[in-house]
Symmetry: C2
Subunit: 520 residues, 2 copies
């Protein structure tokens, strides 16, 4: 994100900024504005509904927005040819030097709540065309925890009349640890209380009753997909209930509703702080610690209503970050065995789970490095890009102010990648957006390649810092209570949240960044 | 809006700005920013759902937003006492020196599409509490013409397969003039085609079959309420169909959908241009011709998502503007006889209707000047304000940077108003928001009193100029077609639209401003 400045200088500024709040604010503002200004600001003129501007394309958020207009491509290679581009050769898994498995876990949790492709319901006669739509609220609202709709939030809440406590989410204790309640009865039918929740996505593929018995009643239909995502949702469930308890004690006159809403306000902002200060910091190639300073956004020209784009529904499918096998509580699980399986999490408990994810390295993001089990989803991504007439890769390079590649060698320094692309595409201008994203080399000091890094950063800053809870007249201690405000100001990482909710964190490494990693 | 500058100087700048585009742009930007900056920018922290900040108050737009937080008032006088404050004494109607009856007609049409209190459906067991909610799309989207929901738009459209024409709205011709189709069969049942439309509001009070037979199938549930509102919707219906025809002829390759969407894009922007350049200009006390220059909004800190407020659902009830009797086509109609009655419009035809509305003066806005028929709605407004715990009048004076009244004499120079308030309220700080709004004297050269004028101007500019169709990457000829773009650039008034849709306008006065009126 910073270029033309020697590395040592950047590192010195970063150290200085860590110690001088005024400098940190200046550098943060400059970095964020510069990052966002590489492309056009919202509102996006187009969505997937029409290939031209219409009132529907500008207002109906069931359709996904577009960074670039639809482009009908010909000369595209067959999907069968492209599968080889993603396939990780047996025994040749490449790992990422910077990221632990906590990084893809968090990325998946974040995006499952925000970038929500509408999945076709085949049994209701819906076609693949549904993937042009989304089911997002277009806000970072922690819907995996709180649900997407008001009636879902209601179903997840523990009413004061039942428990005598105010503002809590329903939960259960297993081996002394707090988790969400289970969704199903033992016979595999959904508990009546939870009938309004979105059914876990792809559940039909997992008829095993024992597996189903451990599915949590979560707000999000993707939050049970793998145990490391359920792990993060469990953490925020505990934090919500802990905060509700603290707020209840400090405000004996507040009712159930106000305690709940104030805890929720706080947890959403904690999450956004972690997105900026831990997750984006991890992704960034710069050593500078960006602070989630909402005032940067208040009067900014880029502070415009959020709208998830069709490009983002592709951009964030980081399957190659998933190693072939992840070890939970000393037991290795091949990827396929973790799908919809919460047993590894329940066996390990929350601290061990976080610690395990933080001590294993993620896969290297890029070509020829996707686990066999996930290859079909890579193909679905390319199909979706073509269904939505997403413009080719090279157009997006120009869009975010990067050079447009003139030859396949401009995309990657990896000869194997270049050879594959040259053998597969007629021209460098034909390369599918999704393929190009993963064909690029990763950026020094970042787990991501350049185009992806730029696009992730634009949307992360411009769609997180404009959250209504961070707005000028809202971001103050009245909104969060004194307890909540103090908590917000003392939280920067998942580790901070884990430590106050689960005993035994001690000096365990809980981090998206590998302990062995150093800036180059 | 401009203060401390001598009147003659303002008038000279206005004349200069009318002739110098660069000066006009500068003055427009300065005026608009200054007007909006009298109070806090959106997002509003509160809505009618909670008396504190919550995720629901920040995101669920079914509830109305709040400029100021809820305030529980005691010491309020009984409604029965307040009815006298509004009552127009028999034969003592006061008329407005500036406004014709076209002004309240347009105001009602504009607000019925945008500020939409949710009316309790008593037969479905809904209570008065429903009035805390709204059914607005929170955009100036011409929903009275196009409907509030996608399926309503669909029901109003004439499909190409039926007519052979592209992009049109359904219509009928009566005596050679184009109108919307009628909603009911002769027996008073709704035509199947239109079953998805919102039923005209308050229809149950008008069982007369002859009256029902002339109700139009409009997108808006309030667009049939009086013939002068139906008149404006009819004008934009004609303009839509005229434009669709022109666009169809220039773009023979465009399908039904694209012609429709492009005509709709254009008509919405024409409407916004008229809102700013004719309606707001009429309201403004300044002679300066503000241009609807969208670039003022593009990077402005006040360009934040719209949200209709509970204050606005009260602020815009300008019942005293309605004279006791309005003459249509030489026939005088007392107000009560015009409700839900489209006969005056059909008898007069569109040009005569606009000309008649433009040649009769509106009532003077203020106390003791509401027609008998409308008094009960005044009481409903005060009740709604109290139901929503709207803060008192004096708090809103401070909110928009006006002096807080210390005594009743600070509210009005009219002794009758001061005496009434003093006899009715215990303290000047108790005065209901709604009562205070109408108790103030009108501003020189404006039909409105000061607090109302400020609040109308803030929301008009900040919620019209940020329309997505006016945004930086959208406001160009591609969005509207060359035909549409030319039309936008040559339209400033209702007269412009009427003249190209209805023969016989000639030199007739078609204006919100009375022909006899002069700046003082």
């Amino acid at each position: 994100m910073i270029s033309n400045i020697p590395n040592f200088l950047i590192r010195s500024i970063a150290v200085a900024a860590d110690n001088l709040p005024w400098l940190n604010r200046k550098v943060t503002a400059a970095l964020i504005n510069r990052t966002i200004n590489v492309c056009r600001h919202r509102p996006h003129p187009w969505s997937t509904v029409h290939d031209y501007v219409s009132w529907t394309s500008l207002t109906d958020q069931r359709w996904s927005a577009r960074h670039l207009p639809a482009k009908q491509m010909t000369n595209l290679p067959d999907l069968k040819q492209l599968i080889e581009f993603f396939k990780r050769p047996l025994g040749q898994q490449r790992l990422c030097s910077k990221s632990t498995c906590l990084f893809p876990a968090f990325a998946q949790y974040l995006t499952d709540g925000f970038i929500r492709t509408r999945m076709p319901n085949a049994s209701a006669g819906e076609t693949e065309d549904m993937r042009r739509q989304n089911t997002s609220n277009h806000q970072i609202d922690l819907c995996p925890l709180y649900g997407r709709l008001p009636e879902q939030t209601c179903a997840l809440r523990l009413k004061k009349e039942v428990s005598g406590e105010r503002g809590r989410l329903k939960s259960q204790f297993i081996s002394g640890e707090e988790y969400a309640p289970f969704l199903f009865y033992d016979d595999g039918t959904i508990k009546e209380d939870f009938s309004v929740l979105d059914e876990p996505l792809g559940l039909d593929n997992f008829p095993d009753l024992e597996l189903r018995a451990r599915i949590f009643a979560f707000g999000g239909d993707r939050a049970n997909s793998v145990p490391q995502v359920a792990m993060i949702n469990t953490l925020f469930l505990r934090e919500h209930n802990r905060l509700a308890g603290e707020i209840e004690r400090s405000h004996t006159d507040w009712d159930d509703e106000r305690v709940f809403q104030t805890a929720r306000n706080t947890v959403i902002v904690l999450f956004i702080k972690i997105v900026i200060e831990e997750y984006i910091h991890h992704i960034s190639s710069s050593p500078f610690h960006i602070r989630a300073d909402p005032s940067v956004a208040w009067d900014a020209p880029w502070n415009k209503p959020n709208w998830v784009t069709t490009e983002f529904s592709l951009l964030y499918r980081w399957h190659s970050l998933i190693p072939d096998t992840i070890t939970w509580n000393d037991k290795p699980y091949p990827v396929g065995m973790t799908l919809m399986n919460n047993r590894p999490l329940l066996d390990a408990g929350l601290v061990r789970a976080f610690s395990d994810m933080s001590s294993q390295r993620a896969g290297h993001l890029g070509a020829f490095n996707t686990a066999e089990t996930l290859l079909q989803i890579e193909m679905l991504a390319i199909k979706q890009g073509r269904l939505c007439h997403v413009a080719p890769y090279s157009d997006y390079r120009s869009y975010v102010s990067l050079s447009r590649p003139k030859d396949f060698t401009d995309i990657s320094k990896d000869q194997k990648v270049v050879d594959f692309l040259r053998d597969t595409y007629k021209s460098v201008d034909d390369v599918d957006f999704y393929v190009g994203l993963f064909a690029e080399d990763t950026v020094d000091n970042s787990p991501l390649p350049l185009l992806m890094l730029r696009m992730v950063a634009v949307d992360a800053f411009s769609q997180a810092l404009n959250n209504p809870l961070l707005s000028k007249s809202v971001f103050n201690s009245t909104t969060f209570s004194e307890v909540g405000w103090k908590t917000i100001n003392s939280t920067s990482s998942l580790r901070d949240v884990l430590a106050r909710n689960s005993p035994g964190v001690g000096d365990k490494q809980i981090s998206m960044t590998a302990s062995s990693w150093k800036y180059r």
